[in-house]
């Protein structure tokens, strides 16, 4: 079976796949990295957003072949309770998630934004998170959290 080498959260992982078009989403979840969620499989909802070489992408629309050799970051790799990313800290401080299903994707979109723009405006944040659908209505808190994570008052 063909093998693919990916760098996931800093660790080189070799995965087997008979299908070069297997979505990265299924690869990651198969590795036990279940923070990244299946939402639509169509690239419409942002629940499966991860970083590929620092850019936010929908992992349901990225194939394992495309991800080969690239650096993938998931929510688990962004930070942890012991060493949280500032956005994670802000999401907890602002108590953003309700059901939490879309949270991972939101945080990854926000992380990509902050890596490119240290002090984004509110409208920058809204634009960056526009791909991330949320049914619980946590948008206002999410924007405030990203402002706080970038050292700004929301």
């Amino acid at each position: 079976m063909p093998k693919y080498k990916l760098r996931v959260n800093g660790i080189v992982r070799t995965v087997d796949s008979s299908d070069a078009d297997k979505p990265l989403l299924y690869v990651l979840r198969g590795l036990g990295l279940t923070a990244t969620k299946f939402g639509c499989g169509l690239g419409q909802c942002g629940a499966c957003t991860v970083l590929v070489d620092g850019t936010a992408v929908q992992s349901c629309q990225t194939t394992v072949a495309h991800a080969q050799g690239k650096a993938i970051t998931t929510l688990e790799g962004l930070g942890s309770a012991a060493k949280p990313h500032p956005i994670q800290t802000a999401f907890i401080d602002e108590q953003v998630p309700q059901c939490g299903y879309c949270t991972s994707g939101m945080i990854m979109s926000a992380a990509a934004l902050l890596s490119k723009k240290k002090k984004p405006s509110e409208s920058d944040i809204r634009a960056a998170l526009d791909v991330n659908l949320c049914r619980c209505g946590t948008h206002v808190r999410a924007v405030r959290a990203v402002m706080a994570a970038s050292g700004q008052r929301g």
Partner: protein, 742 residues
């Protein structure tokens, strides 16, 4: 607070050992002791017993068992706050177990915004009963009168000072053997130190670090992945299946039970591909009504029955001079629960027992339903709650769990079923359509002389524990028959004085698509109509909308709330519409007031909108909401619920309508069924009124009911155009603006 979530995978061995708890949330970290001792068989589950809700463990930790589940709405902290406060122990000494039919008492479905109002109050009474018992035990040991003792900090001690006795030493690991005592004295709210505090929800950190286990993430050894293939038309039957068509996916096999068709395999992606590849023939079916004539179909449906819901006062005859007579018709379409994660469940069904992991809001009801179609005794079917994607009623969770149970029994192994996006949008049961006609007579002084609401809505079949489930239906298994919509006929009458008031419901025997409760069942539509029509009467009388409502309102809590809204909005008293209705971007403000079910939470809501004439696009710029749900347990939790209720309902009002042709739902993705995105989210100003000495009321959905009218009334104020059909899409708004102009 050092709050952690612990989850552990459930092994078959653990299951066989008699049900050690798999998933628990604790405010103090893992307390394996409590779980290991708590063999399911030893649990008291009678919801009249204190032991069903509370256990004081030998180490002084108190385990609270809650039959209601946390869907992200914050019961996981609010319920421990209630229990800790009433018992007299720190909240971080509470261990919390939720939604497991083997461990938690049946407190009814987690619905109707009743988690705190009913479920929490049962637990408060259990804790009060337990506190009374603990004080009596200590009184004997200390030889001090109970009245001279106090329970606090996990011990009972003399009020006058001196050494106390720890709860664990009084009763640790033993049962109370007490019925809930409705007369057990409750603490004076003035003495509260835990209730009313914005303590953090314990699941938020794990959700932010990606360590929370959703039902989608859960697995058991030997588990198979499955996809169910639904027919291309709702009522179609399966004619033939070409099993050879998926030969190239080794290890994936077809399961067919009558019209129930699925593929099952060890690898999820191969199973998914096989599901997409499998060739099957289905019969034709086109039994749905025409969507563009749905309202007419409802109005004229044969066999509908009438019921008078409200009949008060008598008509003023003849109406006073200058009185104006108005009539209008309002329509709310079918809507999807719109869960971001398509439904998922895991089931392990054996010959003599079954375990089902599900995100459903109705664990105990489902236990009965699933036992019936599996042919097992109820107590041999265990349901364990795991969080899912927010469902806001009954989305596909109940169906997915039934699918998994059917398939696990068929293949003799645990099975995980994951629905697709098209499955969820196409097959989740829908919020039903609602049609309302309102006629009224208003005097020049704003007095409502006459009001009549007629509503056409599907009728819920009495006594249904669940909805009819897709899997059992297709597989020819024992299934529920009937309709379940939730309580959708409430709030058809305004809360304002009227000389004559009537509400008549025309119960429809059928619904176009399978209905189910959707957040705040029925009330968003009824209050949209009632509060829009109230605004129409106010405008006809030339009276400011707030002034009009205050003239007709008697409830002092309602009056205070509307006045607080006026402050929040910096409301300028004038009648609608405002000046500038012909501007290229017309701006306006509107408001609505709702007393939820006429007996629960009070909401006054105002909105500021901008309507772009050229495109018809409505931008909600600001929402102000004054909210009174009685005693607030956790203000940040309430605030989050109100925020969510407002934003979700703005989405429903502006954007959402299930589309269908004569055979199937055609809006099966997020482009054909769009919801609110970040760029369209308004500023929110929320004013929470806390009334510590009043009973706590639900906060999870009342604000939903106020959204539609506040928005429509703001659009009227901006443009002079009344929007009476949801959703307010740009096309619809543009057409209305043009028809007014011409």
């Amino acid at each position: 607070m050092n709050a952690t979530i612990n989850t552990q995978r459930f092994s078959r061995r653990a299951l066989l050992k008699g049900g050690a708890l798999t998933v628990g949330f604790t405010l103090i970290g893992l307390h394996k002791g409590a779980f290991a001792q708590g063999a399911a068989a030893a649990r008291v589950l009678d919801n009249k017993e204190v032991d069903a809700f509370l256990a004081v463990n030998g180490d002084g930790i108190v385990t609270v068992y809650c039959g209601k589940v946390d869907l992200g709405q914050g019961l996981r902290i609010a319920i421990p706050q209630i229990a800790a406060e009433e018992l007299g122990i720190d909240v971080d000494k509470i261990n919390y177990v939720e939604g497991d039919t083997a461990l938690t008492p049946n407190q009814g479905r987690t619905s109707g915004s009743n988690g705190i109002q009913r479920g929490g109050m049962q637990i408060r009474q259990a804790a009060a009963t337990a506190r009374k018992a603990l004080i009596e035990l200590a009184a004997k040991r200390l030889n001090i009168a109970p009245d001279d003792l106090i329970a606090a900090g996990g011990e009972v001690r003399p009020k006058a000072g001196g050494a106390g006795i720890r709860f664990a030493s009084l009763i640790g690991s033993r049962r109370f053997d007490l019925k809930l005592d409705p007369k057990a004295p409750l603490k004076d709210p003035a003495s509260y130190t835990i209730v009313g505090k914005p303590l953090r929800r314990p699941d938020v950190a794990a959700k932010s670090f990606g360590t929370a286990t959703f039902v989608h993430d859960f697995s058991v050894p030997n588990m198979q992945h499955a996809r169910v293939i639904r027919p291309p038309a709702i009522g179609a039957t399966l004619t033939s299946v070409d099993e050879k068509s998926i030969e190239k996916f080794p290890g994936v096999k077809v399961v067919r039970i009558k019209d129930f068709l699925a593929v099952v395999g060890a690898d999820e992606w191969s199973t998914e591909r096989a599901a997409r590849t499998l060739r099957a023939q289905w019969s034709d079916w086109s039994g749905l009504p025409a969507q563009d004539r749905l309202a007419d179909t409802m109005r004229t449906e044969p066999g509908s029955t009438q019921q008078s819901l409200v009949s008060k006062g008598k008509p003023v005859a003849p109406p006073p001079p200058n009185a104006k007579k108005l009539a209008a018709s309002y329509f709310w379409p079918m809507q999807s629960h719109g869960s971001i994660g398509p439904s998922c469940a895991v089931a392990d069904v054996r010959a003599d027992a079954a375990t089902i992991w599900t995100a459903s809001q109705g664990m105990h009801d489902n236990q009965v339903t699933y036992a019936r179609f599996l042919g097992l005794p109820k107590d041999k079917v265990r349901l364990i709650y795991l969080e899912g994607s927010g469902c806001f009623g009954m989305n596909g969770h109940e169906d997915a769990a039934a699918d998994a149970a059917i398939l696990s029994r068929a293949v003799g192994r645990p099975v995980r079923v994951q629905w697709s996006r098209a499955d969820e949008h196409g097959w989740d049961p829908k919020g039903p359509p609602q049609l309302l006609d309102i006629a009224g007579v208003v005097g020049a002084d704003g007095q409502i002389h006459d009001w009549r609401t007629d509503m056409w809505i599907p009728q819920t079949t009495k006594g249904l524990l669940n909805i009819p489930l897709l899997g059992p239906q297709a597989a020819g298994l024992d299934n529920i028959v009937g309709l379940n919509t939730g309580l959708i006929s409430q709030n058809g009458d305004p809360p304002y004085a009227a000389d004559h008031m009537q509400v008549v419901v025309h119960w429809l025997k059928e619904a176009p698509l399978r209905p189910a409760p959707l957040r705040s069942p029925g009330k968003p539509a009824n209050c949209f109509a009632v509060e829009s029509f109230t605004d129409e009467l106010a405008a006809a009388a030339g009276i400011d909308p707030i002034e009009f409502r205050l003239r007709g309102l008697k409830n002092p809590r309602g009056i205070e709330l509307i006045k607080r809204l006026a402050v929040l909005m910096k409301w300028q008293t004038r009648s609608s519409p405002g000046a500038g209705t012909n501007a290229a971007v017309a701006r306006g403000r509107g408001m609505s007031y709702v007393h939820y079910k006429h007996s629960e939470t009070f909401v006054a809501m105002g909105m500021e909108v901008a309507v772009e004439r050229a495109s018809g696009k409505i931008k909600v710029e600001r929402v102000a909401c004054a909210h009174d749900c009685g005693q607030i347990i956790n203000p940040d939790g309430v605030r989050a619920q109100v925020e969510g209720s407002i934003l979700q309902t703005i989405s429903r009002v502006l954007l959402e309508e299930v589309k269908f042709d004569r055979s199937r739902v055609s809006s099966v993705d997020w482009s054909s069924y769009p919801i609110l995105r970040f760029s369209d989210v308004p500023k929110l100003d929320i004013d929470l009124v806390d009334r510590p000495t009043e009973p706590p009321l639900g906060a999870g959905e009342a604000a939903c009911a106020a959204v539609g009218a506040a928005l429509a009334n703001a659009v009227y104020d901006a443009t002079g155009v009344r929007l009476r059909t949801v959703p307010f899409t740009p096309e619809r708004v543009k057409a209305e603006l043009n028809s007014k102009a011409s």
